[in-house]
Chain length 449, copies 2
C-alpha cells in the first residue's frame, strides 16, 4: 500500500456542472464535485439493494451503468465491485480504483463536454429519483468503533463529573475510543425507540428498571474503512488515509441516565447500543480534498503527538473543514407547521485527533480493520456554547434547558422529537458539497405507547 494524494484535480473544479440540472442548484448537497456513494432500493420493492452515486436529486445506478459498458480499466474494476448490495467490495479495493471510478463518473455526468450527448444517452436510463428510493446503511459493518476525539466535548463532560479535573491525564496522548455495537447501526429515517434500562434515581439506594428519562443524541462523523490491515499488522500514519474510503454523519443516540449508572468500570454499553443512525451517503476523502486544513492547533503546553501519530502530512492538512449542524423538530413544531430548529453548529476541524490518527491508533496494536468497518469521531463539539454537539452539553446536564421557538424547553429528548444532522463543506473557488441528512425520530418505549 502506498500513499495516494488526492491532488486538487479537475473533479474539484468549482465551475463544473452536470447535465443533471438539480445538481447545479445553489446549495445542492450533491453537485458533480461530490459524487458520494450509497446503497438504495426502490421504496417497498423488496428488491435487492444496489450501489449508487448521488447526483442532484437523483441516484446513478452503478451496476446498470456498467451493464452499458461505460467503464474501462481501474474504473471498471471499481464498478464491478459495486454489483453487490453493500459498499464493502468497493471499499476493499483502494484509492487507485476509487479515484478512477470517480473521474469517469465526473466525465459521464458533466455538461458542456463534446461527448455530453453520448454520455447522456448512455447513462440517463441509469438515473433514478431519490424520492422513489429507500436509502440503506451503506456497508455491512463488521465492527463499529466510537472515539472521543473532541477535546471540547471531553472537557465539557468532564467538567460536569469532575469540576476540578475535567480532562483525564491520558486524553492528550491517547485517542480514547471504545467498541460500539454493529448490529444496531440503522439507516437514516429509522425510528429510534426510547430504551428501557436500569437507572438509579438521584438519592435512591437501589436502581429501577424502566424507560430512559435522559435520552440524548450525539453529533458525530464516521469514517468507513477501506482495504484495512491483517491481524497483527499496523497501519502507519503516513498511509492511514489510503485506508479510509469516506465519511458519513453519525448520531450515536445515548441514554444518559443508563450510562451514568452502568458505565463504571468498563464504559458505555446499553446506554449506547440500542441505536446508532448513519447518513446514507459516503462522501469520499477525494471529494473532501479541497477542504483539507491543518489539524487542530494544540496549546503550546500540550504534548506533541507521539511519533506513531505524527508526520508532515498530518501537520500540513490533517484536518477537514466540515461544517456540522444539529436540528430538532418536535411534535409541537410539526403541529404548528414549523420547520426544524437548529440546536448547534460545529466543525470537524476542531477535533483534537484527526481521522488518520484515529485509524493508525486503532491498528497500532495489530487490531485488524476490515473493509466497511465504521470508525466514528465521538461527539463533535466546538469551543463555543452553540458548538455543543449533544443535549447533555447544550442543556448542561439539565440545568440550562434549551428553549425552542414554540416556547417548549428541552433538557433531554422527548417522544416525537426528530433530530436531523447535516454537514457540508465550502471553500472559495470550489463547489459546496453536502452530506445530506442523518435523521431519526424518537418513538415511545415498549409498552408506553
Amino acid at each position: 500500500m502506498t500513499i495516494v494524494r488526492y491532488d486538487i484535480n479537475h473533479t474539484h473544479d468549482g465551475a463544473a456542472a452536470s447535465w443533471v440540472e438539480s445538481a447545479n442548484l445553489p446549495g445542492a448537497d450533491f453537485p458533480i464535485q461530490n459524487l458520494p456513494f450509497g446503497v438504495f432500493r426502490r421504496v417497498g420493492s423488496g428488491e435487492t439493494a444496489r450501489v449508487g452515486v448521488a447526483i442532484g436529486d437523483a441516484v446513478l445506478d452503478i451496476a446498470a451503468c456498467d451493464d452499458r459498458g461505460v467503464f474501462t480499466g481501474a474504473a471498471a474494476v471499481a464498478a464491478r465491485a459495486c454489483r453487490g448490495s453493500a459498499l464493502n467490495a468497493l471499499m476493499a479495493l483502494g484509492p487507485r480504483q476509487w479515484s478512477a471510478l470517480r473521474a469517469r463518473l465526473f466525465e459521464l455526468l458533466g455538461s458542456g463536454r463534446a461527448e455530453e450527448v453520448t454520455h447522456r444517452e448512455q447513462v440517463s436510463p441509469c438515473l433514478v429519483a431519490q424520492a422513489d428510493l429507500e436509502l440503506l446503511v451503506p456497508a455491512d459493518i463488521g465492527d463499529y468503533t466510537d472515539f472521543y476525539a473532541s477535546v471540547f466535548h471531553a472537557t465539557n463532560v468532564g467538567r460536569m463529573l469532575r469540576p476540578d479535573n475535567p480532562l483525564l491525564p491520558n486524553y492528550k496522548y491517547v485517542p480514547i475510543g471504545y467498541h460500539g455495537r454493529a448490529s444496531s447501526v440503522v439507516a437514516s429515517g429509522t425510528p429510534v425507540r426510547r430504551p428501557l434500562g436500569q437507572t438509579r434515581p438521584e438519592g435512591a439506594d437501589a436502581p429501577i428498571f424502566g424507560p430512559s428519562r435522559r435520552l440524548d443524541y450525539e453529533l458525530e462523523v464516521g469514517a468507513f474503512i477501506g482495504p484495512g490491515n491483517g491481524l497483527g499488522e499496523v497501519i502507519p500514519h503516513d498511509v492511514a488515509e489510503a485506508h479510509v474510503f469516506g465519511l458519513c454523519l453519525v448520531n450515536d443516540w445515548s441514554a444518559r441516565d443508563v450510562q451514568q449508572w452502568e458505565y463504571q468500570p468498563l464504559g458505555p454499553f446499553l446506554a449506547k447500543n440500542f441505536a446508532t443512525t448513519v447518513s446514507p451517503w459516503v462522501v469520499t476523502l477525494e471529494a473532501l480534498a479541497p477542504y483539507r486544513v491543518p489539524p487542530f492547533e494544540r496549546a503550546t503546553d500540550d504534548p506533541r503527538p507521539l511519533p506513531y501519530l505524527d508526520g508532515p502530512e498530518y501537520r500540513a492538512r490533517g484536518g477537514i473543514d466540515l461544517h456540522l449542524e444539529v436540528w430538532i423538530l418536535t411534535e409541537q413544531m410539526r403541529a404548528q407547521g414549523l420547520g426544524p430548529h437548529r440546536l448547534s453548529r460545529s466543525n470537524l476541524r476542531d477535533l483534537y485527533w484527526t481521522v488518520s490518527q484515529l485509524v493508525t491508533h486503532h491498528a497500532s496494536n495489530g487490531c485488524n480493520l476490515r473493509p466497511g468497518d465504521l470508525v466514528a469521531s465521538g461527539t463533535v463539539s466546538g469551543p463555543d456554547r452553540d458548538g455543543r454537539g449533544c443535549l447533555l452539553e447544550l442543556a448542561w446536564r439539565g440545568t440550562e434547558p434549551v428553549v425552542l421557538p414554540t416556547g417548549e424547553t428541552r433538557r433531554f429528548l422527548e417522544d416525537g422529537d426528530e433530530i436531523v444532522l447535516r454537514g457540508y463543506c465550502h471553500q472559495r473557488g470550489f463547489a459546496r458539497i453536502g452530506f445530506g441528512e442523518c435523521r431519526g425520530r424518537v418513538v415511545p418505549a415498549p409498552g408506553v405507547e
Copy 2:
C-alpha cells in the same frame, strides 16, 4: 418463541456408547453424550470450511451425512442449515431443530442398536480424523460482547485499584459488560502477537509506545446466540436460553499496562482487541442439561435480581456446573520435555450472573442480538486463590509471582508461553463431557523477533 426445556432424555444416558470407539475412552471430551458443533477444513487444503460434530477423535461431516439421506423432518431442516461454512444458519433455527438433529446423531452414532450396522454403513464414510483437520472459528461473529460476571474477579481487580471500596455500587444490580472486537476473534492455535501500545511507566509524566510488558490471559466462557431478537424487541428472561445455541471457551488476551493507561473513561479498547481466542467446539445447552445447578448463592444482604432478571427457572437451575482450568507451557518447559502446568481451576457456577441473565440484560434495551453473536462471561474466577482466572489476579498485579515447575516465575506472560484453557462437566450417572482445548502461544511483538 416458546421456551424449550432440555429434559434429561436418552441422549444423556451415561451408559450409552458409540461405535466410534475413541468416543468411549474414559476422560474423552467428546463421547456420544456431547456432540458439539464446529467448523473444519482439511489441513492445508484451502477447501471451503464445513460443519461437523465431534465424536471421539473424529468429526462427522454433517452435509456429507445429509447427502446420504439420513435425516428427516426437523433434523433434516437443521442438517440443511449445516451446508454453509459457519454455524450461523443452524444457530438461527432454534431449539426444536437443534434438538432433533442432536437426537438423530445420537441414534446414528450409537452402538448396541439394532440398526447399528446400517448406521455405520451410512455415516462412517462421513467421519474424518480430527488430526487431519484445521478447526476454525465456528461462526461468523457479528458482534462480540464481554461481560464481567464473576464477582470474585471483579472484587480481586477492584481490591488492587480501590482497596477500601473494591466492588462498585452497580455491580450487584447490573450485569456489567462492554463490546469487544469481532474482527480479532481467532481460532484456537492461532499465535498471539504481543501488542504494541501506549503505556505510562510508574512515576513517568508521559507515556511511551512499545511492546506491552504486562500481557495476560483471561479464562472465560462464551455463549453463541441462537435466533436472537429484532431491534427494539427484548428477550424475556424465561425464554433467554432458547436464544443460546451453546458454549465455548474464550481467552480474552489482555495487555494490562495498556489497559491501565487507556481505560478511563470509556473502558478497555486496544488493551483487549488485538486477539481473543475461542475453542473450536460449541457444546450445546442441551448437552449441558444434566449439569445444571441452582445459580450462585447470593449473600443474604445482596439485592435480589431486578424482576426482569429473575424467575423460577433461574432460581431452580440457572447455573452450569462447568469445571474450568488454565494451563501454561513455557519455552523452558518445552525444552525440558515437560507437559503443561495447571495455573488455576474454577467453575462457571460461581458466576454472579447466569448466562440467561446476561442475554436478557443485553437485549433489555432493544439491542438486537443476531445468530452467531458471541457473548462472553468475563474472567471466571473462584472464591479461592487457585481459582483466579488470570495472571493479574494469580500474581496479584506482579507482587506475588507464580512459580512454575522449572523454577521460572511469571508476573505476566513471556514470549513463547502457551496458554491452554480446558473445560468439562461430570456428574454421577452421566457421562463426562469436555470442551476440548482453547490454545494460544505468545509470539514476539513486531520488530522484536
